[in-house]
Structures are given as C-alpha cells and as structure tokens.
C-alpha cells in the first residue's frame, strides 16, 4: 500500500429518493434508499470497480461521488489540487472549478454525444465552459488529445453519426481527458461495444491511466472486464456494499453468497465448463 493519501475517501454515503403520494398535492409519503452507507478509500492511480445488477445502486453511488446527484448523507473527501475538500458540502459555485478534476465517461456512445456538434466542438466545449483555452491554442489541444485516443485532426469537422461505436467512445474519452482530470468515473463505458472494440478501449483506458496517473471508478456489470482492469471491487446489492476486496481476492475467494451467485452466472467460453448458476437466497 502506498503511503500517499487517498485521492477520494467516501464515508457513510447514502442517497434516498422521495416517493410521492398520488393526487394533485403530492406529498412525500416514503423514501427509497438507493445507496445505503457506502464507505471506501481510493488511492491515486488505482482503479476501483463497482459491480452489481441493474437497480443495485452502482450508478447512483458513482454519481453521488461526483455530485451529479446530491447525496442525502455522508462525506466525499476529494484531494483536489488545492487540498482536501468535502464534495458533499460544497455549493454548485464552489464545485464548478473542481469539475475539471473529475470527469465522467458514459455508457452509450450513441446518446452521449450531441449529434449536431462536430467532434472538434464536442471535445473543445468543456474547455470553453471553464474558460481554459480558446482559438488556435485550443484547436491544437483538441487535436493532440484526439491523437492520444487514436483519432486524428481530419476527424475534427465530422459529426458523431459518421463514426462507429468504438470511435464514438473514444470521442467521449477525449472530451473527458482534455480537462486533465485526476479522477474519472466510467459508467459501463465498454458494455455497449463489440469484444474486439472493447479490448481496444480497455487498452486505451489503461495506457492513459499510466500516462496521466488517472484514478478510475469503473461501474460495470461485466465481471470479466472488471477482473481485467480493476485493483479493487465493491459488490453492490440493493444499495448496499455486500463485499469489498482486492480483485484477485474477490475472484479467488468470494465470501458473500451474492458475490458467489454473480460469479457463477458468467458463461465460460470453454464448452467443458458448464454453466451452473448458484441462486442467491437472502
């Protein structure tokens, strides 16, 4: 374990969504707890996987960390360039400069890009919003980041529809990277891709991590991908973390019944290893 401080320290994070009554005057009648008491530390350069089925709260948890959603409770201590800050306590205005340091890569490369903006505009937009660069200098930065993700200057003036799924995902990655973030949340960023394109994007994410010392939170349901790229894994179920371990420990020695049932459900490409899913009972 390195002696450096965690870049992110999440303590007792919870998110509740109100449930409203029917009728004209909608009163809050109950709460739905989507994320309940999640705790973890994340070291610089580390990759944390959050896995679980749909509805497990993995995406909600990741979004609360970035304050894309308001957490209901808990602390999110982030080591920013100007020292540690509790993201959960900051106002939107205070958060804005920090947004450069934490970026998100989305699942669907088809719906996450604006079809009416060119690749160049899409990648440059965050820099313009944060007033970090403009003009010729910005164009140079955009080209350089596009080259990093395996695209080229000739792609600048094209629109998203002219690109394949894998290329679109690279555009999304370029848009996140141009801000030089330290923390990236990748929400199912490779699940919509074909296996060969998936391999390219995973390799790219790992190369970039090395080059820019990036820290990743990788939200996924594909456990074989998680096994490949994550150092540690949180297994979530119904809003709670049921198991949290290093990746090798989790896969060699899953303790929680739910983790075992998840692992047993992965079909092996070896026809001699039959699928024998274990049902999870509470």
């Amino acid at each position: 374990m390195p002696t450096t401080k965690p870049i992110l320290s999440v303590k007792r994070l919870s998110k509740r969504f109100p449930i409203y009554s029917d009728g004209v005057v909608r009163r809050v009648v109950d709460n739905f707890t989507a994320v309940n008491d999640v705790n973890f530390d994340l070291m610089p350069g580390e990759t944390l996987g959050i896995v679980g089925e749909s509805g497990s709260g993995k995406t909600t948890c990741a979004r609360c960390v970035l304050r894309a959603l308001e957490p209901s409770e808990g602390e999110v201590i982030f080591q920013s360039r100007n020292g540690p800050l509790d993201l959960a306590q900051l106002s939107e205005k205070q958060l804005k400069p920090l947004r450069q340091e934490m970026q998100m890569i989305f699942q669907d490369p088809f719906s996450s890009l604006n079809p009416r903006m060119t690749v160049g505009e899409t990648v440059a937009e965050p820099m313009l919003i944060h007033k970090l660069s403009k003009g010729a200098a910005l164009k140079e930065q955009v080209v350089s980041i596009l080259e990093k993700v395996g695209l080229a200057a000739e792609h600048l003036n094209r629109y998203p529809h002219a690109f394949s799924g894998g290329q679109r995902q690279r555009i999304g990655i370029a848009r996140a990277l141009i801000m030089k973030p330290s923390l990236i949340v990748a929400d199912e960023s490779v699940s919509a891709l074909d296996v060969s394109v998936q391999a390219q994007v995973i390799n790219l994410l790992q190369d970039l991590q090395e080059e820019f010392q990036l820290t990743y939170i990788f939200v996924a349901h594909d456990l074989s991908v998680v096994k490949h790229i994550c150092d540690r894994v949180l297994v979530m179920r119904k809003g709670e973390v049921v198991e949290s371990k290093t990746t090798s420990e989790l896969f060699s020695n899953p303790e929680h019944g739910y983790t075992r049932s998840l692992l047993s459900a992965i079909p092996s490409p070896d026809p001699d290893i039959p699928l024998q899913p274990i049902a999870y009972k509470e």
Binding site: Q200, A265, P267, P269, D270, P271, I273, L275
Partner: protein
Amino acid sequence: MPNPNENALSIRELSVTFDSEDGAFEAVRNVSYDVPRGKVLAVVGESGSGKSVTANAILGLIQAPGRVSNGQILFYPKKGNPVDITTLSEKDDLLFKIRGGKIGMIFQEPMTALSPVHSIGNQLCEALFLHKSVDKKEAERVAIEMLEKVGITDPATRLKQYPHEFSGGMRQRVVIAMALICEPEIIIADEPTTALDVTIQAQILTLLSKLQKETGTSVIFITHDLGVVAQIADDVAVMYKGRIVEKGSVRQVLKDPLHPYTKALLAAIPSQKNLGARLPTIDSVLGDTDISTHTELIEIGAGRSVALAPEEAARHSK
C-alpha cells in the same frame, strides 16, 4: 438436395445487397449454413458482420433498399414440401404461416419487442388467433400454460397485466413464451440475453436450453458472446464482414479455432490467460495476416469448414 429429415433449414449461397446512391453494398456474401433438426446453431460475429441480416432474410424481413440478391433459404417443414423462402412474395399466405408460426423469433430488447398498450394475454393470444384456429377460451388456456412453462408464477393473473408491470427478465420470458406459443419448428433468437444482467442471463439460457430439449425445436442463436455460445449451442458459424469464415461443432471451433479471425475473437475476451496484460485486439492478433484473400469455405471433414488457403486447410483436414 440434402436430406430433409436431417435439417430444418438450409441456407445456400445467400447474398443480401443494400442499394444506395454510392452503389450496392453486400451485407451478406455467399453464406451457406444448415440448421440440423432439434439442434442449436449459434451465429457469432461483431456488429456489421451480417448475422442479423441473415436471420431477417430467413423470415422474409429484408426491406428496400435491401434485397436478397442471390441464393436460397430452404425450409423443410416436418410435414409437407420444402419451401424456398426467398421465392415467396410479401403477400404470400405461406410466408405468413411461416413467419411467427413455423419459425418463431425472439428479439433482443424485451422492452421494445412488446406492445406497451396491450396486455400480455392479448399479445400472446394474438399469435394464436393468427396462426391456429382456436377460440378465445382455448387461446387463454394455452397462453396460461405457456407462461407457466417459461417460469412465470401466477400466470392467470399475470395474463391481464401490461409489460411495464414486468421486470426485464420476466419480459424476456414473455417474449420467449410468444415465440413458442405456436409450436414453431425453428426459433431465431437474436441476442436474446444481451440486454440482461448476468444472473438473469444465466436463468434465461437455462430456460431456453430446457425448453429446446423438451420441444425438440431447432434454434438459430445469434450472439456476439462466445461464453453464451459455449453454453447453449451445438454448432457454431463465425461471421466476418458478411461471410462465414469458420463453422463446425462448438467444441471444435472454440477449443481449436483454425481461422485467424476466430482465434482473434477468442483472444480478445478478458480471461485468466491475459490477466494483467494488454488485451489482444483483433488487429494485433491478426498482424499482417490478410484474412480477406481466402473467402471460400473449405470442408475439412468432421462437419467442419474454414475459409483458409487450400493448402493450409488441407493440413487441418481429418
């Protein structure tokens, strides 16, 4: 002509062309495969490989600007004469009987495959009214029985409910029930588990496998997931850019892939073998190997064929 008792369906030299202003594009090129009766054939490939277009052609669902430009799709019903589906016109009664009747379809997205404004019972019975001469009471009885078969508890109540009242996995069970309700001889399943969680996927695969064995239906299973192929299929055809590059039994192809593309596809899956290393991509595995030179499938015995140079294929010949 192959023995009609052996195969439920034979595709022969099928080509599907899409015409556009920039010229014609062949999405499926000279594809031939057999679906043995009572067996599961998996068709694998990446997006754009032509696997779904081939399936759509089987149901006569290729629409303009697309057209079947060459080849035959021979359907061998258990009773009656073989039919070449490519010769049937859109208005043909026979095509109507085959589509959804003799050949059922399971789609990828259980969210979009069901109508949100009709009850489950309504949608299940509709298929029966179209293809079987049954009255309402009988249709409902069959529908309830079918829902029970696909593992939906309290089917009589569920019949009256709408798709939004079902979870993703349950909806896919309903879609399977719809495909099976007319007792088809062939089922085409187009990525039926891709949109599902891994635990639900395992349940659906187990269910499909069980029902397939019980009913003896032949299945064409389209997927890009080689893990799923290994678990459900008997035979597999690997497609790349509109052509089949390798086909054979699942064991042969997955354990001992011969074509460079099949090898690359298997290598790109994150697994124990490449743990901690860079993932091999199709390009890095292929290297300088040009896989577009030899497109002719060569039979090498034991029901296996591969698109390699003749001398190389001969080396693998048994």
